[in-house]
Each structure stands twice: as structure tokens, then as C-alpha cells.
């Protein structure tokens, strides 16, 4: 049992909802008690969606348990189908329904809906939101895209199946016991009949299911970054591979003059951190390079769109947490390569452009692209490089930055912070345990301790210990930073309503780099102001307890973290008595204490700790002004 107050990620079925809500023509029937309907408000309130998520909940109660929860699921499924007429149905269970084991997959099969039904098995007691989104997207892709391919091959059994019987989703064996219910197939609605041919290919075969059933797609690796790593997808996709090879070759030898290269964009979902804005940027970027976008998924994709994913030349993976597994499957099945660079920041965007050109078979660009003002050819260039080099920004150099978020955004922020702002990284972490390896590797490179934790109290502790001047984190870290009086910008989910700004505000691409520049610099005390603070510390208004002037009036919540190991607090001007036999109580003399207060708040905690450490090491029991400056000299060597 994990004791928690705030969580970075919701349960895995919320991840499935993010995929379903992003798509068109999909409906998710979720076996869940009434309270779980809270998840709707994430979409309607936080993201301000103007439609309810396409989710129907069974809302079973205690008195249904052990009697007819299974029948309730079937009724709900049938009614939801009839009401919403989706082109594909997702079925699954939330944490509670997982325990009562009604087998939504089997029940859905028995209901015999005339559209593909995709069962989701999302282990609520092991996995979380992003995993759920990845698994859901993967299941959708492998069911619908594989089906299309079979149909294209003229697989007679599948087209027949669509007219005679409703097509079964992959993963449901016709051999499974029938569970009494209505026979929708016997009396299909006209709409269902017209719709089903579009999707008729949904494979009747059970092939490949066994291997894929219990995969843990993201475990221990970041798909699209780490090499290899099939993460449990076994080689059951043999027949598809053949089709893929043919397809891949065709794409490869297609003359460029005749056809612009095409790609899919994979990863954006509902309730994503700036996903919609990123998508706009990346579309623009690809268009400028000369690449057409075939399908964007899940955001805005219909089941029919998913079915033609295999037609594109390659895949652009924007969020490996969500699309990595599906991209790997597409690579195996259709030979589609996928991008591994996430275009967040100026340098990464350039790398991304280079990678995309390579995957598209386009010649390398001959010059540095994308910078404004330097004769750059790209219209939507970035101001970031020049802004970072302008003299004014010298004050940013070496500022200590703590980075925490999902893996994609944390890794990107670490690179941007160090290479493009000149900050010093003093901490790097993620709550996404699946990506621990990537974060550890990066942390090693930057020479910091990696933090892998989904306990916000651990993160708070790490921030306090690292003494950063800027925190780049999630809404959780924003709160922590606010309490500690440290500047903060939000770079990653979990999101709140303010992460959906009215203006276009991408993180990706060249415009994204501009946005990063503005958002990260905004909370900081500006260069000259910082010096003035240092010079006139005693000014009653213009003191270091005040916020940066452009952020409005008001005192900082706590100028100094209260974690100092010293028993003597700022309020105790005289040497304190030894607290217990073990530790020497360090006494700050009044004037030393006063001198300490003159040090700007953002380094004061560190100065205090260093001075105390210095004094302890030398066995000094009291700290004078001299000790303070001795310590300063000692540590600045």
C-alpha cells in the first residue's frame, strides 16, 4: 500500500479515455462504479472540451454484485452502441470491475456488435495512466490497422465474416463460451450494415493475440529511444511482415518527383500537455520540409484512419510514452521507420528535421535552419538562439535548475536548459518509472542524481536539497516551488486548466522554442533587477522577500526553506544550546545572522548550509561574520 495525497498519473483506464476521447467514431464502455465518472470532468473542465468524453459507465452498485453485473455490462454495451453508433467499441474495466472479473471482453464478444470491439486489459493495480494510453493505442492500432491489411489482401474469410457475422475483434476467440444475451447480429441496424464494410477487414483470426496479451509495452525502456527492445511483442506478426515488406519496398522505390513523402504523426491525445499546439507546429514544420501528413492519431483519427496507418512512408512519434509501442508494432508490420528525436527545443528541432529528412529520403539540408535573423530560410524561425546569446541573458548563465516531469519533457528540458539557456542542471527526475533507465543515463551525463519517484514528497525533498533557482516541473512542483519561494515553470503533465492557454502555445518546433524561452525566463528576477536587489538589500520595499517586480506585489511564501539542519533558526539570534548530545548546536551570532540575511534569498539557504558544514568540520561552535566569509571563500574555490 502506497500512502499518497496527490498523484502524478491517474489509473490506466484514464489513459484509455484520453485515447478514446481524442478519436472520432470510437466509444468506450467501461465497467465501473458511479464515482469513476469523475474522469469526465478532467476533459470537460480541465481541457474545456465541449463534448462529453465518448465513455459509458455501467455504474454498478453493491446490490448488483454477485448477481447481475455481467448482464448489466451487456445491457450497457448494447444501449451505448445503439445510442452512439460508433465505428469501433473499446471495452474494459476500472479497478473495481477488475476485481469482480466479469470478463468484459468475453461479454462484448457475446453481444455480437456489428463493429470491431477492442477489449482492453489494463491492470489497475500495477499500471498507470500513460501506460494505459499506450496500451490502448497499441491495441487499437493492431486491431484496426492489421484488419485493413488483411482486407486489402482480399482475405475472403474476413469479408465474408463482415456480412454473415459481425467481425470479431482480434483477441476474442470464437471458441470462448457464449454468454446468453441478445443477438444483435440477427437484427443488424441499417446503419450498422452500411458501416461494417468499411471496417470489414477486422481479422477473424486469433493470431498473435496470445503473445500480445500480457505485454508490458513500456517496461524499462523508452520506445523510440532505446535500441531494439521489443518489449514483449513476440514474433507472431509473421504474415503481416510479408505484407509490410512489399509495402515498404514500394514506398522505398517510389520516385520522389511523383509523390511527396508521407508520414503519420503518432501520440497526441486528449488531455495532453500542449498536444494540440505541438501538432500544429509539427504539421507546419513537416509541410515546410515537403512531407505530407497522412494520418494523425489518436487525436482526430477515426477507425478508418487507423486502418490506413500502414500506407505512410514513416511515423513521427511525438510522445514516446503514448505512441512508442504502437510505432514499434507498425515498424514490424509495415516496415515503417519512426522518429526518435522529440523536437522540443531549438537543437532538438534541428535534429528532428534532419532525422525526418533522412527517413523521408530527402537530401540533407545544407545549412543551419530555423534561426531567425541569421538569414534563416524558415519563416517560423526561432528567436531562442539570439535571445540566449544577447548580452542581457548573461544573468541566466549558471543558474541552478531542477527538472522533473514525464520522461519526454524532462529529458528535453534538461537539454534545452543546459545547451540553450546555459543553466546548470542540479536535479533531474521523472515519475514515469517505465523510463527510469533513460533518466538515469541522462542524469549520469549531466552529473546529477537521478530521481525516479511518483511520491511528490520525495520530489519536494530533492528540490529542497538541490537549492535550485528555477524549477521546471509539473503542477505539483509548481506548488512546491511556490511554497519555497523558488521560481517555477510548468513543462509537463499532470496538467491543470491553466495549461490550456487561449493563445497558441506549443512546446515543440521552432515556435515551441520561443514559448520555452518566454515561459522559463518569465518567473526569474531579471538581470539588472537582480543586481539592484543585491545592492540595496535593506530597502524596505525593494527587498529580497519581494517577488520579481513584473510578477506583481506580494511577499514570498517562505524565503528560505526550513530544512536547514541547524537547530538555530533565523528567529534565534543567540547561540542555541545543544539540542541533544549527538549534534553540536551551531550558534549564529547576531551579526552573522544579519549578514546572512543580506545574501539574496535564492542562495541564502545554500550559504547557510555551507557555512554550517564548514563550521562543523572545523569544530566551531559559533558562527561569526568571519566564519561566514571564510566559508564563502572556501566553497568558491
Amino acid at each position: 500500500m502506497q500512502l499518497t495525497v496527490w498523484t502524478y498519473e491517474g489509473p490506466p483506464h484514464v489513459g484509455a479515455m484520453r485515447v478514446a476521447t481524442a478519436m472520432e467514431g470510437v466509444h468506450y464502455v467501461l465497467h465501473a462504479p458511479q464515482g469513476d465518472t469523475y474522469a469526465d470532468l478532467l476533459f470537460t473542465m480541465i481541457e474545456r472540451r465541449d463534448r462529453r468524453p465518448p465513455v459509458t459507465y455501467t455504474t454498478f452498485e453493491a446490490r448488483d454484485l454477485g448477481k447481475d453485473t455481467a448482464a448489466l455490462f451487456q445491457t450497457t454495451l448494447r444501449e451505448a452502441y445503439e445510442r452512439f453508433r460508433p465505428e469501433a467499441v473499446l471495452v474494459g474495466a476500472s479497478c473495481t470491475a477488475e476485481l469482480i472479473q466479469d470478463d468484459p471482453a468475453g461479454l462484448a464478444k457475446a453481444a455480437g456488435l456489428p463493429v470491431p470491439v477492442i477489449p482492453l486489459e489494463l491492470p489497475s493495480y500495477q499500471r498507470k495512466e500513460n501506460w494505459g494510453a499506450a496500451e490502448t493505442f497499441y491495441q487499437i492500432v493492431r486491431t484496426l490497422a492489421a484488419g485493413r491489411d488483411a482486407a486489402a489482401d482480399g482475405n475472403p474469410s474476413s469479408s465474408e465474416g463482415a456480412t454473415r457475422h459481425p467481425p470479431l475483434p482480434a483477441g476474442i476467440s470464437p471458441a470462448r463460451g457464449e454468454i446468453g444475451g441478445f443477438d444483435a447480429a440477427a437484427n443488424p441496424s441499417p446503419q450498422a450494415l452500411t458501416q461494417s464494410p468499411r471496417l470489414q477487414g477486422c481479422s477473424l483470426e486469433d493470431g498473435g493475440t496470445a503473445g500480445a496479451r500480457s505485454i508490458s509495452p513500456l517496461v524499462g525502456e523508452m520506445p523510440g529511444r532505446a535500441e531494439g527492445g521489443d518489449a514483449g511483442i513476440d514474433s507472431s506478426a509473421e504474415p503481416e511482415k510479408t505484407a509490410a515488406d512489399v509495402h515498404g519496398e514500394a514506398a522505398h522505390f517510389a520516385p520522389r518527383e511523383v509523390r511527396r513523402p508521407t508520414c503519420n504523426i503518432l501520440g497526441p491525445t486528449a488531455l495532453g500537455f500542449r498536444h494540440r499546439d505541438d501538432l500544429v507546429e509539427i504539421r507546419k514544420l513537416l509541410g515546410a520540409i515537403g512531407i505530407d501528413v497522412a494520418v494523425v492519431a489518436p487525436l482526430g483519427a477515426s477507425p478508418a484512419d487507423i486502418a490506413r496507418l500502414g500506407e505512410a512512408d514513416f511515423n513521427v512519434v511525438l510522445y514516446p510514452e503514448i505512441a512508442g509501442v504502437a510505432a514499434k508494432w507498425l515498424k514490424r508490420s509495415f516496415g515503417q521507420e519512426f522518429t526518435t528525436v522529440v523536437p522540443i527545443g531549438f537543437g532538438a528541432t534541428q535534429d528532428f528535421v534532419a532525422e525526418v529528412r533522412r527517413l523521408a529520403g530527402l537530401p540533407e539540408a545544407d545549412e543551419r535552419q530555423g534561426e531567425k535573423g541569421e538569414g534563416a530560410s524558415t519563416e517560423a524561425g526561432s528567436n531562442l538562439p539570439w535571445f540566449s546569446r544577447s548580452v542581457d541573458s548573461t544573468y541566466l548563465t549558471g543558474k541552478r535548475v531542477f527538472v522533473f516531469g514525464d520522461a519526454t519533457h524532462a529529458l528535453a528540458a534538461a537539454r534545452v536548459a543546459t545547451e540553450e539557456f546555459g543553466f546548470t542542471l542540479c536535479g533531474l527526475g521523472t515519475y514515469a518509472r517505465e523510463f527510469a533507465r533513460d533518466i538515469r543515463a541522462a542524469a549520469r551525463e549531466y552529473g546529477v542524481e537521478p530521481l525516479i519517484s511518483d511520491d511528490y514528497l520525495d520530489v519536494e525533498q530533492a528540490i529542497v536539497a538541490a537549492q535550485p533557482e528555477l524549477v521546471l516541473g509539473t503542477q505539483m512542483e509548481r506548488h512546491v516551488a511556490k511554497r519555497l519561494g523558488i521560481a517555477c515553470a510548468v513543462i509537463s503533465a499532470p496538467v491543470h486548466v491553466q495549461d490550456y492557454p487561449a493563445r497558441h502555445s506549443p512546446q515543440m518546433g521552432f515556435e515551441g522554442a520561443n514559448v520555452l524561452w518566454d515561459t522559463w525566463v518569465h518567473p526569474l528576477v531579471m538581470g539588472l533587477e537582480e543586481h539592484l536587489l543585491g545592492m540595496f538589500r535593506d530597502d524596505f520595499e525593494f527587498n529580497d522577500g519581494a517577488k520579481p517586480s513584473h510578477l506583481g506585489a506580494g511577499a514570498r511564501v517562505a524565503a528560505e526553506p526550513e530544512t536547514s539542519a541547524a537547530p538555530a533558526s533565523a528567529a534565534a539570534p543567540f547561540p542555541a544550546a545543544a539540542a541533544d548530545g549527538e549534534t553540536i548546536a551551531l550558534g549564529w551570532l547576531t551579526d552573522a545572522e544579519a549578514e546572512l540575511r543580506k545574501i539574496p534569498f535564492f542562495v541564502r539557504g545554500k550559504a547557510r548550509r555551507n557555512t554550517e558544514k564548514f563550521a562543523l568540520e572545523r569544530g566551531l561552535s559559533e558562527i561569526t561574520v568571519e566564519t561566514l566569509y571564510d566559508a564563502k571563500a572556501h566553497y568558491s574555490r
Binding site: M1, T4, T7, G35, T37, L41, T44, D64, T96
Partner: protein, 439 residues
């Protein structure tokens, strides 16, 4: 597809529902009963206000990641002053064996008690997963109580979505408190006001009762867990909230007697509520008038401008907190609004009897929910204002319906004379906005 019984399998159990004991007079009022998808929070949500109300109590949900996520989403804002609630998230290994889960729970509690030495009362709150795996929280509470007595009292109740709808969580919490209340030692009657109220409202009521000469007034829940009000056969209790069926039953087991009354919403509602207590305590009518007249007049004056704005406007209630019926009564009688459908998750006919008697004849009542059907009715009705939960509000606004978030009615002080105007204002503002906005 006909009628209300959408899930035929469930219809049979309908009769044993909470809507029991028919009362003369109101039982005849027709009501649509629906069993379909509910779009309502579970009882865990009550913790969001209860943990603020009882200042030295802590609420530990024994549940899943879903429960923890609900708590942080329903709160709407993350209250980052460390809140006095948390979730012990069950993981795979807890589900493997119950003994294991109990040990884990003990460990979680001991960590908690260590970190929060200020806590005097700890509620173990059951969730759907803990109930489905039959984790016995009452035994856990008894076991842990022994260990932490007398410093921390440990109680348990269910806030699960399979047992409770939204405000029923508070009902179960208060019901769990009742056996803990000390025995009233006096035989002279004392008044117990039951149901969490904002502190400011509680203070106003205490002053009013005192002005009419009712001196021994206590409130449940108390602000301090150490300060539990006594109860016994001499206790007369007055419900401040309409959703306290189980708490009332427990109080009656302790011998307390209920004072039947409408609920203290609006000027009229507050007067009738106070009057019921005054009559039960034999307060002289003159004294009652002098104690309440000024505040009542103030409330009516505060309502006047809103009446001009809201009169004749139609309102539709989606079921949420069980406050719907008293609210509908107040809106129709004091502000002249036209009621269309008034949906409530449960109707406690006995406790709502006085309210039902005041409702207009033509109101359409519904109990339970089938959210898609209800949405169809709302769309057909096109009410001027629709009271609904957070999941429905923006989609309805996008369809051109003006909405009022029902949860605000729980998170804002609305009871009593001084809040009557604020309550009306909550309904007027969305309409006001509609007339202002040109976008």
C-alpha cells in the same frame, strides 16, 4: 426500450432502496425512478469538506489509484496546505492475501500517526476495491484503536461508489460518529443540529438559537474531534442537510428524537427550520419573532433584486447532492422560478416530507439517473438554467444551455438568513453573464 426500468435486473431491488416508509400526503406524488448510468461522484468526495470541518481529524481512504485521482480531481483545486486526507493505494501484492493487506494498512496508519501527531481522530474510509475484496475496516479500526488509544480514536465508514452517492459519504461519516458520542447526562432537552455547515453559518445559527432562549445547542460534526456533543433520550435533533438518513437512524437508536422541518435554505426555509426547533423547545412565538425578524427581513431584502431577475425563469436539476428538492422549493417559492424536472439521486421521503409539501403541484420529480435519457429531456425542455455536475456543464453550455455547477452548492455557505442572497446570486450569475457576453 421502454420506461424507467432500464436495467431490468435491477428493478427488483428497487423496493428495498432508501425510499422507504411512505408518508401520508406526499407519497402520492408521482416520481420517475431511473436505473441507468449515473453521473455523480461517490461518497469519498465528502472528505473534501469534512476534513476542513473537523479540524483534528484525518481521513484515510483505503482504495485504489482511481480513488486518489478522484479526490484530487473532485477537489477541483489541489489544496496544497497538506490536507488532512490521503489514500492508501492498494497494489497488486495487497490483493494477493488479506492478512497482507491488513499488515500494510497498519503500517500505513502508523506512518501517518507518526507524521501527524496533531491528529485526534482517524477515519478509515472504505472504497469499492476495499469492499469488493472484503477488507474489514471495522475490525481494522477496532484493532488500531486499541493500539493508539487514548491519543487517536480510529473509526471507519464507507465512502465507496458501490454503496454511496456523493453526499451519502457525509451521512456515513456522521453515522460512524454517533456511537462515539457521550451519553447525555441531563434530562432537560438539548438541541443537536446535524450536518456539516460552514463555521460562519453555524455561528449565526448558534446566536439565533441563543436569542430565542435555546441555550444548549450542539452541532454534529463538531469542529474538534475531542469535542463530541452528548446524545440521549433528551436530545432533539434538527437536520441541517437533507442527506442524513443513516445518521438519523443511528441517532434514534441512541434515543434522540427528530424535529421535522424543511431545510434552512432561503429566508422562508430558514424561518421554518428555526421555527420547528422553537416549537419543539416551547419557545414563545413573540420571542421567536423578535429573535428572527430582523435577520429574516434582511434576507428577504437581499432576495428582492434576484427575484426580479429570476422570476419566471425555468430550472432543471440533474441529480447530485440530494439538496435538489430543498433548492427547488426555495427557487420556486422565494424567487418565483419555474421548476421543470427536479432530479435527485435518492429521495428520503420522510425527511423530505415538509419540503415536498411546499413544492408546486406540477413539478416533475425523478430519482436515480439514466444520464443519457435525462440529457434528452433537458434538451427537449431547454430550461433557462440547468443545475448539473462538472462532467456535464461545459457540454451543455456548448449546446447553448446555461448551467450552474451543482458542486458549488456544497462548497459555498448557502444556509441561513445571511446567505440567502448569496444562494440566489449563484443562480443569477450564469444568467447575468448570458446577458452581458457578446461573444
Amino acid at each position: 426500450m421502454t420506461g424507467a426500468a432500464v436495467h431490468p435486473g435491477r428493478a427488483a431491488s428497487q423496493a428495498q432502496g432508501r425510499a422507504a416508509s411512505p408518508m401520508a400526503g406526499c407519497a402520492e406524488r408521482p416520481i420517475l425512478r431511473e436505473r441507468g448510468q449515473r453521473e455523480v461522484f461517490c461518497g469519498l468526495t465528502g472528505i473534501v469538506w469534512l476534513h476542513r470541518k473537523i479540524q483534528d481529524a484525518f481521513f484515510l481512504v483505503v482504495g485504489s489509484r482511481t480513488c486518489a485521482h478522484l479526490m484530487q480531481s473532485a477537489a477541483g483545486v489541489m489544496i496544497f496546505a497538506e490536507p488532512r486526507f490521503a489514500t492508501a493505494v492498494m497494489e497488486e501484492r495487497d490483493l494477493a492475501g488479506l492478512a497482507d493487506a491488513n499488515e500494510e494498512l497498519d503500517a500505513a496508519v502508523s506512518r501517518l500517526v507518526e507524521r501527524r501527531p496533531d491528529i485526534r481522530m482517524l477515519f478509515l474510509v472504505g472504497s469499492c476495491p476495499s469492499e469488493v475484496i472484503k477488507l474489514d475496516l471495522s475490525r481494522a479500526a477496532a484493532r488500531l484503536s486499541e493500539r493508539y488509544a487514548p491519543d487517536v480514536r480510529i473509526l471507519n465508514y464507507s465512502g465507496s461508489g458501490i454503496e454511496t452517492t456523493f453526499t451519502q459519504g457525509e451521512d456515513n461519516c456522521l453515522a460512524a460518529l454517533v456511537p462515539q458520542l457521550p451519553e447525555a447526562e441531563t434530562t432537560s432537552p438539548q438541541l443537536l443540529v446535524v450536518g456539516a455547515l460552514a463555521d460562519v453559518v453555524e455561528d449565526q445559527f448558534a446566536r439565533l438559537f441563543s436569542a430565542m432562549g435555546i441555550e444548549t445547542v450542539r452541532f454534529l460534526p463538531p469542529r474538534k474531534a475531542r469535542d463530541l456533543p452528548p446524545v440521549g433520550p433528551s436530545t432533539r435533533y434538527l437536520l441541517a442537510q437533507p442527506f442524513l438518513g443513516e445518521t438519523a437512524r443511528c441517532l434514534e437508536e441512541r434515543g434522540a428524537g427528530r424535529i421535522a422541518a424543511p431545510f434552512p435554505l432561503g429566508a422562508e426555509g430558514t424561518t421554518l427550520w428555526l421555527k420547528a426547533a422553537a416549537d419543539a423547545f416551547g419557545v414563545d412565538p413573540m420571542r421567536f419573532r423578535s429573535a428572527t425578524a430582523a435577520a429574516e427581513a434582511r434576507a428577504k431584502r437581499a432576495l428582492e433584486p434576484y427575484r426580479a431577475e429570476l422570476s419566471g425563469r425555468s430550472v432543471f436539476f440533474f441529480p447530485d447532492s440530494q439538496l435538489e428538492i430543498p433548492l427547488a422549493r426555495m427557487l420556486s417559492r422565494e424567487l418565483g422560478m419555474a421548476l421543470t424536472e427536479v432530479g435527485t439521486p435518492y429521495l428520503h421521503r420522510q425527511h423530505a416530507a415538509e419540503e415536498l409539501a411546499l413544492l408546486p403541484e406540477d413539478v416533475f420529480l425523478s430519482e436515480g439517473q439514466d444520464v443519457d435519457r435525462q440529457l434528452e429531456r433537458a434538451r427537449a425542455e431547454r430550461p433557462d438554467i440547468t443545475v448539473c455536475g462538472l462532467g456535464l456543464a461545459n457540454p451543455l453550455e456548448a449546446e447553448g444551455l446555461t448551467t450552474k455547477w451543482s458542486i458549488e452548492l456544497l462548497f459555498t455557505p448557502i444556509q441561513g438568513y445571511e446567505q440567502a442572497g448569496d444562494l440566489a446570486g449563484l443562480f443569477a450569475r450564469p444568467l447575468d453573464r448570458k446577458t452581458r457576453l457578446k461573444v
